[in-house]
Point group: C2
Chain length 400, copies 2
């Protein structure tokens, strides 16, 4: 039987797919990893089965999977020379089944739901989490409810509505919707798997286990990840903590969480050495996927960052957009702006000489750029025109 | 040294990265696979190294790769029951680095270019091939020229322009542009890798090798693939032909090529038992990625289909759109309309009782739906509205 724990009051509770927060502290619950010896089952090619000892699942229902495999760890190649960088690797989560890291968490939460006999799942999201939940819900034949804010543009949810979930636009405060959905879920037997769902967080661990294996016999000195609700990076950290607990690594990497300057409540609290995140009033950044003014995992992340020597930083929108272009132009990887925060942060740290040439650094590239294509105008300046008969001249003129 | 052969006049030529067509027949050249014994290097996880014996590459420059791995072969799960289908598998090419099968060909053509010391590459495309070529060109630091038709909408090329190739809109006949680019390429040392480039076709073989290994010890009875220029399915077939030649399989699967009714020049020629494809005047289909009225690989494909017992068929736009939705709603896989032709064809064959319950069928799902999101309106009917205070009532009303 799984067991939940709250890192704030140290209470424990039996695992329960309808609970996300500690009833006393209102902080996210985490699953206990258990003390029994854990092994990586290297003979398995599927990551869920490979790291099963570390996951709150007794077996894997393979028919419900969407062909999930290890995502690639790609060394930066041209940028390394261009910016005289240490050894930097991109953990490319854009090639997950629905194009983002959310699939890592969804698959574990859905497997867990099915094992509990749950038939209805849901989420509150307009972006990657919505498509991911809708896709895996469809695959598993679960009734899937996606709640979105009233003012959500239709084009933002087409990548979700294609899977035909029950899609509901909800008027009213987003915070109330987020917490309210969890209460309602308990009552109506709808298993809402929102951003800091404990089983979702368990799924995020898989990315770190893969990094650990992909870099062996070396270890990363830094892992840089975008931060929104906090759930993703908490999962990434939890995996390394467990690897250390079970004697599989000697040292934790240093985690660097990156937020956009226009919405950085956790970084603000971190820099001010506070224990609690304060909700910010106005979030404004191009990195929509991490624009969360009231992150439910914020306090927990602050705690982990302090305990394990991590750091929070910010980058601004021009830095983000520039990093997004740079990653595509030099490395051939097209990510969403939220993911580009990691490269922007790296370049900032490199400029400050904060990195050593021997460091191994992993950037978590969380989602594909295809779901939020840059505005037409932004790139039109680069397009040339000619006709078939003058193509040769044009090419020569462009020195192409 | 690689050698080209023309299956029409049986001429052979030395391999050459600037040649695509037989100078005599104007038909696509294919690389000779050679008679020496070939082995699958099962100890390699990277498909290029695994199938190196079958590829026209002496070594693999790994820094130029984009983390390409085997794509998943996913069994149809809910649809199997719903439509009483045989064993059907989706070869999910949507999770390639730029979201389509084109990456399979581009990577081989780029590796080959670099081995020849080429510094400029190009392609004529507005879609998947353009983004794929631009991404791998960026990664390799090659000057990359992408030629698009004059009337191409900006939004169609943002997924390409993000990689910052030299993008040129060209007025004039598309056929002249296609063949003209190859001539000009020879002259200006720009290696154009267009749709039926022989090295590109070699890359497409990798998908079939993976299918062969993923299904072992079983073999597929059918492979169903969308057909545009013909290059992709020619590559998929060539791999199985080589596996048979080298004694690695006993029998070829039956290949079924699918075109959209609104643009089906190859199927028309096939059904009329002609040897040559006639250019059609007006192409009109929702499946833009396979809307090619004058397919350069058409005659070669007809020849292969006859020699190896394949078949060509068509599906119409409503069938395509319905299959696209069905695949997403039942299986959680969101593909472009062109890819959905394969499921539409399967459902058609199943209705006619043309399949046996023991058959193993592979659908080649060529590209992600994210690059051509369905129009907003099409899905809006499914969206419900409420407010936070009435969410419970709404959920109950929807029986959610």
């Amino acid at each position: 039987m799984d067991q939940f724990g709250c890192l704030f009051c140290q209470s424990t509770y039996p695992g329960d797919p309808y609970s996300t927060f500690c009833p006393q502290c209102r902080e996210p619950l985490l699953l206990h990893s258990g003390q029994e010896k854990k092994t990586i089952h290297s003979e398995k090619s599927n990551s869920l089965e490979r790291y099963l000892d570390f996951l709150p699942l007794s077996t894997i229902e393979t028919p419900l999977l969407l062909g999930q495999r290890e995502t690639p760890l790609i060394p930066l190649y041209r940028l390394k020379k261009e910016f005289t960088l240490p050894q930097v690797f991109v953990k490319n989560e854009t090639v997950n089944p629905t194009g983002s890291f959310k699939d890592r968490g969804t698959v574990v939460a859905v497997q867990n739901s099915v094992q509990f006999g749950i038939t209805k799942i849901g989420t509150v999201s307009t972006g990657n989490m919505a498509s991911s939940t809708a896709a895996f819900g469809a695959r598993a034949g679960l009734k899937t409810i996606v709640l979105v804010k009233e003012d959500t543009a239709l084009e933002k949810i087409i990548a979700t509505s294609i899977y035909n979930p029950i899609l509901i636009k909800v008027r009213g405060d987003y915070g109330r919707l987020f917490y309210g959905s969890l209460e309602l879920g308990k009552k109506l037997n709808i298993r809402f798997m929102n951003s800091v769902d404990p089983y979702r967080i368990e799924g995020y661990k898989i990315t770190s286990f893969e990094i650990h294996e992909q870099l062996r016999p070396h270890a990363p000195q830094y892992v840089i990840a975008p931060v929104s609700s906090g759930g993703h990076i908490i999962g990434l950290m939890k995996a390394f903590i467990e690897l250390q607990t079970h004697g599989l690594i000697e040292q934790m990497p240093k985690f660097i969480g990156v937020q956009a300057e226009g919405c950085s409540p956790i970084t603000q609290a971190f820099k001010a050495q506070k224990d609690r995140v304060e909700r910010i009033e106005k979030a404004e950044t191009i990195a929509h996927a991490i624009s969360n003014p009231d992150p439910p995992g914020g306090n927990l992340l602050l705690k982990l960052m302090r305990e394990y020597g991590g750091e929070m930083m910010t980058v601004d929108d021009p830095e983000i957009l520039s990093a997004q272009k740079t990653l595509a132009e030099y490395e051939g990887i097209f990510c969403q702006p939220a993911s580009a925060t990691t490269l922007a942060a790296l370049l900032k740290l490199n400029k400050k000489n904060a990195l050593s040439a021997e460091d191994r650094i992993v950037l978590i590239i969380t989602g594909t750029g295809l779901k939020s294509l840059p505005k037409n105008g932004a790139l039109s300046a680069r397009i040339h025109q000619t006709d078939v008969d003058h193509l040769e001249q044009t090419l020569s003129f462009l020195d192409a």
